[in-house]
Point group: C2
Chain length 486, copies 2
């Protein structure tokens, strides 16, 4: 364990994760949280979620979506209307049987997702083609009873947004499905600095009740995949189950085509595991709750009285410029301890001001993505805002570049050689291979490698060509990624 | 019923409310909402909530509070640890008895409020005086099973924020309690244009488990009172129930003093009923989802081709200036219909552009708070942003002024005359009178007037003096407001 009590990644990635989410104050210790599998998100973790929420919400609104809010409770009978949907979610339901001191006539489930209750509302709100498209989104908590839980990655309650839209045609619904996948990918890449791969899920791995599911897949620091967001073309499945109909331009009654798409607090897990290192978190500047921490350096009251006015002035300048800033004013802690502490918490830039810096009108800037002397520079106090802004942009780009290089070094194209294919996956890397999508084939791979397909990437390297499915040998026209996953 | 199908306020205030929340698209029709007593908040209503949320959140953060998130579920045993608390909430609980296909060992309640689960977390997070004050807030949904529900006013599920703080001393907790009450009042007055009265609840009316509860009380358009936000000094009640302790500067273990405070989607109901008129909503400009609606006026394609470019140009100018704007591009609807529609939805300013306006470089501005010719003016297109901004400020001030005049005309001071006191309340107005706070006395007033005390206002008209309690006759030093309430 390091001095902060965080197991190094290189020793045990999983233990590192469990340590860092608690030590960095993202969540309360799961072992002490009194509600099974539910997390307590502490302020530092919640600020990260607020930044994610803000970044996505802005994008949803810019593309014409409106937020609304639907009930937490869903009548059990609603879930049962879409056969695959209820089958998929039944084992994970929390059920309310009593309300106001009485047993309920029909039990309610706590929403695991809201296709059904929103579908029911859509059936009332949509009359004619003029009401389409209907583009809704909801920010909410959802509950899926999980046996084994880990903060952010798999919890019985989590926070998310769920988009729900209705359209006149299959083509419109498909365009929406892919538009939102693009928005997720753009957000992940540009804000979270995670080079996700967009792709389609296999029939086995798609959402319960969907026609087709799309995903953004991210590679974590241990090589595992993490599904960081999904977008589903629901076809007419929910429209038929909930009678979502419209009168078209020639006055004929038609079923709508619907979509749904979601990103959750899992994105926080993705950020932790895509960028973290042995020292702790490394947060992308665009989402970091604290972008710059100022550590004042002094050994006595005289030095303090010279250092602090400069610290306060620089802090005010940076804050006025809209940067998210924290001054570490803690007494009785050494600068070295503070450096480690803020490095562990992933703050992108540390600004140090000591007596000599005051004399020289300088300050030291240390970047979290490059530790030690190499990442430290002495800069003029004049123009500090521009200097820090530029540095934050560099770090943002550097994190994306590092994650992309890490990912690209672990993607392997395999044709025909099943044993090598399995070895790659077992070795914790990703294999891209021809895959027919066959259910039995996918089950065999699962048995051999403890992994299923992550996605058929939208960008196919040999578009228009075919090759032999890695497991069935039959010729097929799409390649898929396989990897162990969270 | 008016042409929009809204019962006039003057005919039946309650029917007006029920009509307007649906017709103005704030909520889905409650009779069609499939989950008993839960609301579906439609986009127009949710935007109003987003504005409230943003306005409050900004104020909380500016006063050092941090957002966090705690579990939706609370072990039943937690509620039972504070005797008054469980007694107050037990009849309203929704209970989860099954999860993941199995019956739970201990049932969970869906949070009706989070003092208990947050108190438990505080007991782990607070060690010493250095950890105090701990200033937390949570944006969440809560559930209180209600028999009779009305959108925004009383629903089984609602959205709110709940602040929870811990302090070293009674004085600190009391200062926080009143600070947050001030923030609520300032928000209500300046953003929602509602002249609320700050006061303390009687012992009978305080929060279950609190030492003292404070409230902001608003007068609705029918004279009834509505409690629009509350702030509670919880004393050491929850600290003792959940063992929230700290080591003080002299190394002694002490119990903390805690507070909690909340504002909910009820605030939307307050805005509707404080400002609405026979025509529908009147939204305060600072919170209105749409501040300006542009209605283009033309009778044929030629006129349309001249009008629309001006509309688009003005729309772009206003939008670029950060105003929340909507252009009503609907075809086949008369301008008159559109005027009524937007008046019903409460948009503060309507901007009309017709062919003659185009010729004269003019536009018409109609204000929602003054209907008809009196509230309409023709203005230059040049400088439209400043003109509209100024008008919005005028309307904001005018709504507050109107609500204040309305309220002040219905506040009556009564000393000694019990019959007159009861008549005032029964007549739908507010009586301010000497009140000892006596429980039996309050019960008698309730029986006689179907009303209890709203609050002892913090601003007492005769501070330092005494008078005879209106019901017991004993001398007392505080006056209280009584009124029928929502």
């Amino acid at each position: 364990m390091s001095e902060q009590g965080v197991t190094p990644q290189s020793v045990d990635f999983s233990a590192w994760y469990n340590d860092i989410v608690v030590k960095a104050d993202l969540v309360d210790n799961p072992e002490r949280t009194p509600v099974r599998g539910c997390m307590i998100i502490k302020p530092y973790g919640y600020e990260l979620w607020e930044a994610i929420r803000q970044g996505l919400d802005k994008r949803f609104k810019a593309t014409g979506h409106q937020n609304a809010y639907f009930p937490l409770f869903i009548p059990m009978s609603f879930l049962q209307r879409e056969a695959e949907h209820v089958e998929g979610f039944a084992p994970e339901l929390a059920v309310v049987t009593h309300g106001g001191g009485k047993e309920l006539e029909e039990p309610y489930v706590v929403r695991p997702t809201s296709e059904t209750i929103i579908g029911d509302a859509m059936s009332r709100w949509i009359q004619s083609y003029r009401d389409l498209p209907l583009l809704l989104n909801q920010w909410a908590n959802v509950v899926r009873w999980e046996k084994r839980t880990r903060p952010f990655l798999r919890t019985s309650e989590f926070l998310w947004q769920e988009g729900h839209t209705a359209h006149a045609t299959y083509e419109d619904a498909q365009a929406e499905t892919l538009r939102m996948l693009d928005i997720y990918a753009e957000f992940a890449i540009h804000e979270a600095a995670i080079p996700v791969i967009k792709g389609q899920k296999s029939e086995q791995e798609k959402f319960a009740g969907a026609l087709a599911s799309y995903t953004i897949e991210a590679m974590m620091g241990d090589g595992r995949a993490l599904q960081a967001g999904t977008s589903h073309n629901l076809g007419q499945n929910f429209a038929k189950a909930f009678n979502i109909q419209y009168v078209d331009e020639s006055n004929k009654l038609q079923y709508c085509w619907t979509t749904s798409w979601g990103v959750s607090t899992r994105m926080i897990g993705a950020i932790i595991m895509a960028h973290g290192d042995d020292k702790g978190l490394r947060l992308p500047p665009r989402l970091a709750p604290i972008q710059v921490v100022i550590v004042p350096i002094y050994r006595n009251d005289d030095e303090k009285s010279r250092v602090m006015p400069v610290v306060e002035r620089l802090a005010a300048e940076l804050q006025d410029a809209g940067l998210r800033l924290h001054v570490d004013r803690r007494e009785n802690l050494s600068p070295g301890f503070k450096y480690n502490d803020w490095e562990m918490r992933g703050v992108p830039v540390r600004l140090e001001v000591g007596p000599r810096d005051v004399d020289n009108n300088k300050a030291a800037l240390a970047r979290r993505d490059i530790l030690g002397k190499e990442g430290k520079q002495f800069v003029d106090q004049a123009g500090i805002v521009d200097t820090v802004r530029q540095l934050l942009e560099d770090i943002q780009a550097s994190l994306l570049r590092q994650a992309t290089e890490f990912r690209d070094g672990r993607l392997h194209e395999v044709v025909g050689d099943y044993d090598r294919f399995i070895d790659i996956i077992r070795g914790g890397e990703w294999a891209l291979t021809w895959f027919s999508g066959d259910a039995e084939g996918e089950a065999k791979i699962k048995a051999d490698a403890q992994a299923v397909s992550r996605c058929f990437p939208l960008e196919q390297p040999y578009a228009g060509e075919s090759g032999p499915c890695i497991v069935t040998g039959q010729m097929t026209d799409r390649m898929a990624y396989f990897a162990k996953a969270y």
